[in-house]
Symmetry: C2
Subunit: 327 residues, 2 copies
């Protein structure tokens, strides 16, 4: 594979080159990994930055419709939009939340949009790395906005949040007491909560839900990276393309403020630091899942479960076997 040619193709905004490059970074083959590193290193100094928007929402909230409407609104503003996904379910099923582009028919035909399904990987750490690399390729290509979609098991939201400049949480209106449960910590990650389906019969329910979440957001501690009024909750209708411009204006207000206050760059630097340490930690912990360590952990874990040894004593024994000094 000619890496220089692939690099040039991306810089010339050749979409097929981008697609091939993403396939390359998604590969687990050692020779592919080396080529991918070479490519990413060659693109590192291009220096283009997209606005990276993380987006989470459980099935049924209208996420595909929202991405399509929101994406079309952005391309209508002459912005180039890439849509990537981190799909925790693909690690098991091999399925993909964005595999079916027919769910975003208009956007997938738009020359200023690029939709890429989630890669199938064996674990979330692998998905995280591949997605971050795909984001870097999209930035070098010259996309203005990169939407990173996920559907929540908490962990995947953390992954997406740590590679995004801001995080949107999409919700559906809830009726009366049967409010949808928001999973642990996800509400706290959101910069903007969008209550979708604020149309027709659901409009007033959407407004009530929005008010509920606005109230809940006020109960959370103020973060230094938030200007007055953020995080906030708003209603939108992806179906009627209503409120999308307003949402984009809020996103712009927030990102402008963060750029001026220095939070934007600080956050990117912190994220780079996070991923560096995280990959080292994950690499070291991965050792525990093979060979002697795995055998020892299974054996002593069974002893702990049976109540024959305390967790601490068992851990000490495993660490002694690994020749690691206990704390």
């Amino acid at each position: 594979m000619d890496i220089a040619k692939l690099r040039d193709g991306i810089l010339k905004q050749d979409r097929r080159a981008l697609a091939r490059a993403i396939t390359l970074v998604e590969s687990a083959r050692a020779d592919h990994r080396a080529l991918a590193s070479e490519l990413l290193d060659g693109l590192r100094e291009v220096g283009k930055q997209a606005l990276r928007i993380g987006l989470s929402g459980t099935p049924g909230v209208g996420k595909s419709t929202f991405i399509e409407s929101f994406g079309m609104m952005l391309t209508g503003k002459r912005l180039k939009v890439a849509v990537l996904a981190v799909d925790p379910s693909s690690t098991r099923s091999g399925g993909s939340i964005l595999g079916d582009k027919t769910r975003m028919e208009r956007l997938s035909r738009d020359p200023n949009a690029f939709i890429r399904p989630s890669p199938s990987q064996s674990h979330l750490g692998g998905v995280a790395r591949r997605t971050r690399e795909a984001v870097a390729l999209c930035e070098a290509f010259g996309f203005d906005v990169v939407l990173i979609e996920t559907v929540g098991v908490g962990q995947s939201e953390t992954v997406v949040s740590e590679m995004s400049d801001l995080f949107l949480l999409l919700l559906a209106p809830a009726g009366g007491d049967e409010l949808q449960g928001v999973k642990r910590g996800i509400m706290e990650m959101a910069d903007i909560i969008l209550v979708n389906k604020a149309d027709g019969d659901l409009k007033s329910a959407a407004m009530r839900t929005c008010a509920d979440y606005a109230g809940a957001l006020r109960l959370l501690r103020k973060r230094p990276q938030d200007p007055e009024g953020f995080p906030k909750a708003m209603t939108v209708s992806a179906l009627q393309e209503d409120g999308l411009l307003g949402a984009w204006e809020e996103i712009t207000t927030l990102t402008d403020w963060r750029r001026e206050a220095g939070h934007w760059y600080r956050r990117r630097a912190l994220q780079a630091d996070y991923w560096f340490h995280e990959e080292v930690r994950q690499g070291v912990l991965a050792r525990l899942e093979t060979g002697t360590a795995k055998t020892a952990i299974e054996r002593f874990g069974a002893e702990v479960s049976a109540g024959r040894v305390t967790p601490s004593a068992a851990a000490d024994k495993v660490l002694a076997l690994l020749d690691v000094k206990s704390s």
Copy 2:
């Protein structure tokens, strides 16, 4: 030190033996650690279980007053109560949230109560282990209730939650918009939120705050370990000793349900498993903070911060140095 004698002392409910045993498990000296392991192993099969209640609340919510009033109410019911603490600040300052027993004057004189300040340790992992061991000693001694207090930086709440059967969050009434911020994830850990100071001028504010949090709790996903109506928010007045009996009744309802449904034992088994794996992980990760690993991480971390290398490429280099295969 005569471990057999110490063991007998604890089983005979000799409080000085208990205090000495806790001092032993808190020691970082290698010979003390070995004796502590021997003692804990000898007590492991006693099989007594206390109700372990985790309690978090920021300074100013009246935590000491609450513990005193709640503890006195419990000893009034002929229950034996131990109070332990996990103090994240003590890892830095050497200070202690429970060092000053004069804050709980009545309870500290009560023969059925036992108050132990937080140990000073160099890191939260160490505090966690010592506190779990102190809890085990209190259980073997025969306490009915072990209250484990903390004051929150998130991480310490996780530690306490993972060694508790249930978790209480104590809050103060908030006026209007200046609602106190609850830190990430802590609201989601709470089984019961208690809004304290529901007395005098603050009573109506406490009731409003309680209603706000009850609303926020309804927005969270239902957990399998919760019966109908839990987690819940209630008002109490520690000062006027009002609502404490009601809180205890809710605690009893919840724990009875969890025992019958099997969640109680399942949670304890999961916690043992959690601490076993956590101690192995922490032991392995502690390696990264010394010697070659530390030097390499610092060097490549600086390269990442300067933007000269991607986080992944830097992590790969560190792992190669540590002779760990990357994922």
